[in-house]
Amino acid sequence: MARVKAAVRRGFVQERRLLAEEGTAYLGRLKGGDMGSLPAILGLVTLFIVFSSLHDGFLTTYNMANLVVQAGSICVLAMGLVFVLLLGEIDLSAGVAGGASATIIALMMIDHGWVWWLATLAGLAAGAVIGLAIGTLVAALGIPSFVVTLAFFLALQAVPLKLIGAGGSLRWNDEVLRGLSIKNVPVTAGWIAAIAIVVGYAGLSLWSHRSRIRKGLVHKPTSLVVLRIVLLATIVLGLTALLSENRAVNPLAFNISGIPWVAPVVIALLLFWTFVLTRTRFGRHLYAVGGNAEAARRAGISVLRMKIAAFVICSSMAAISGLMAASYTGKVSPGSGGGNELLYAVGAAVIGGTSLFGGRGRAIDAVVGGLVIATIPNGLGLLNQASYINFLVTGGVLLLAASVDAISRRRRSAAGV
């Protein structure tokens, strides 16, 4: 009995020591400037504090749900761009590629009566073909991606212009595809999914933790692993609970409750691409090519194929993003995707922590950055200011959000890493 107690106590003491060590190391990393996505999250929190103090409506669940829907398409676009940016390339045509793909989806449904998922597949295929063309030109001919994608940015605008006609628009009224941004996940299903995510995360991280211990490799203290699981569970289940309430502005007349469908789609893409980037050979090779293409080539990696793949992924994700944008406005028109979307999406990825010079970036960066970018017009829209003020404030806020990040990174680079 006493021995068991002693053993438990010993385990406990060791655990405390491990945790303390981990804490010191984390503080050291923070001091050294290695902050991960913390700065972008800090920027987001700052924006939330400012806007909610300026307008009561900002922090309502209704507006938060709006924000999620508004952020959806930019998050997806930025996530696709991360792949291209990882290789130190750029894709200026992603926005219009999304517009062109959405046009094709709409036409397939309207003119040919295709069912939504078939039309969506066609749109994805169109995106993939665009990416294939860009990737081939960039990788095989070696034309700088800036120029290739500038050319595609122009040429792809011809597609909806020709198919829809100048000034026209196509209605986007498929039950499912339109529902993506105006319908919500049934409350029960939402709860089930949320719980599945929490359980899945817990299972995976505990399993990998145990393997590391078993193999005698460096590992985090168990309590930290548990802490993380608790944190994730709180956030996911808390948000689910909030969004399961009826949030309609006039709740008696209309019932809006449940997680907007956009959210699970974005989360699924985020999980999928995070898996690909961190746990597969393909992802590892992407980072290698982005870090040092020559080293990757010498290691037998086909730089050509990686580049093409990155552009294909980017344009396909752009197609999904275009679909989401169309779902939000309920239509596709020739100008779709031709505005500042692309610059905003690249900005989102960069604010999230992706480097334009390649080799550094994660899928979650795009989502955090996309939320920052989407929060700005969301908050400003509530404040009802003259356009020139909106321009000024948008610029200023963008700068602010980026500088939190930059200052931390500068400290890291001063530390020589």
Binding site: T280, R281, A288, N292, R298, A299
Partner: protein, 269 residues
């Protein structure tokens, strides 16, 4: 590693594993390699020596498939092969440590060591096994100052980077290993380990090519010596048959006694 039966070290000239014949290579107007013949024999250490700018690294990169040849033959196991890039060459079982290392600075030590040949469980990476193997290999090379194998290679010292590059090349069951100045940045103990490793690899039957400017090291481990002078092969001889000063003469002047290039004066780049 040592259980594999050792190859008899001094069998005189078995059939060459790899052979280049009459290779020429120019960069624009600079003609770097002139009709170079070069051979690697199994179970032997071939030292490739030459002055700075003689063309040693260029020759290695031609063998590695990094550079194409302007002319000349590439034979492996006696048969001509087509190599179009580093991929083809590593498929032949040739591993290379480059002089300019070429590591991915954004990846950590383990990732770099397994780059292009990651171990997998199904489709997911088997990071645990890779980490274990990397640690073992580094330990065998006398590396003591590396804090963690999960450190980014950007933060390593010159010698530590060099060791990672070497470890990367010897991790695989290859048939030929080319080492371009592998000990240049290494400390005393680490250099010892690498020289021992070179000998051990040859004894296991691999063909090893060692480039070095340190003649003591060369004479210690090499079975054959190939000297380059201004992109031409000045000599290709058994190591026992030449002395320290003869090699130095071949390197710096292209001739030594009856060894060397006939018409030294007319040789230009």
């Amino acid at each position: 590693m040592s259980e594999i039966p050792a190859y008899p070290g001094s069998v005189p000239d078995p059939a060459p594993l790899l052979q280049l014949r009459g290779v020429n290579k120019s960069f624009g107007v600079v003609h770097v390699l002139h009709d170079v013949d070069f051979a690697v024999y199994p179970g032997q250490v071939t030292a490739l020596v030459g002055d700075n700018g003689a063309g040693k690294s260029t020759l290695v990169k031609v063998i590695a498939g990094i550079y194409g040849r302007d002319s000349g033959d590439y034979l492996f196991d006696g048969a001509p092969v087509n190599v179009h890039g580093p991929r083809d060459v590593s498929a032949l079982g040739i591993e290379v440590v480059y002089q300019d290392l070429a590591l991915c600075d954004n990846l950590d030590i383990v990732d770099n060591m397994f780059l292009g040949r990651e171990l997998r469980n199904g489709i997911t990476l088997d990071d645990l096994t890779m980490e274990e193997k990397a640690r073992e290999t580094l330990a065998s090379l006398s590396v003591r100052t590396v804090k963690s194998v999960r450190q980014s290679v950007a933060s390593l010292s010159g010698g530590q980077r060099q060791t990672v590059a070497i470890a990367k090349a010897v991790l695989w069951n290859s048939r030929i290993v080319l080492l371009d100045e592998p000990t240049a940045a290494l400390g005393v103990a680490q250099t010892r380990q690498v020289l021992d490793l070179v000998r051990r690899l040859a004894d296991r039957g691999l063909g090893v090519v060692l480039i070095s400017h340190n003649m003591n090291d060369v004479l210690e481990v090499a079975d054959r010596i190939t000297a380059l002078y201004l992109g031409r092969v000045a000599a290709d001889v058994p190591a026992e048959s030449v002395s320290h000063s003869q090699i130095v003469e071949l390197i710096t002047a292209g001739r030594s006694g009856d060894l060397g290039i006939r018409d030294v004066a007319s040789a230009t780049i």
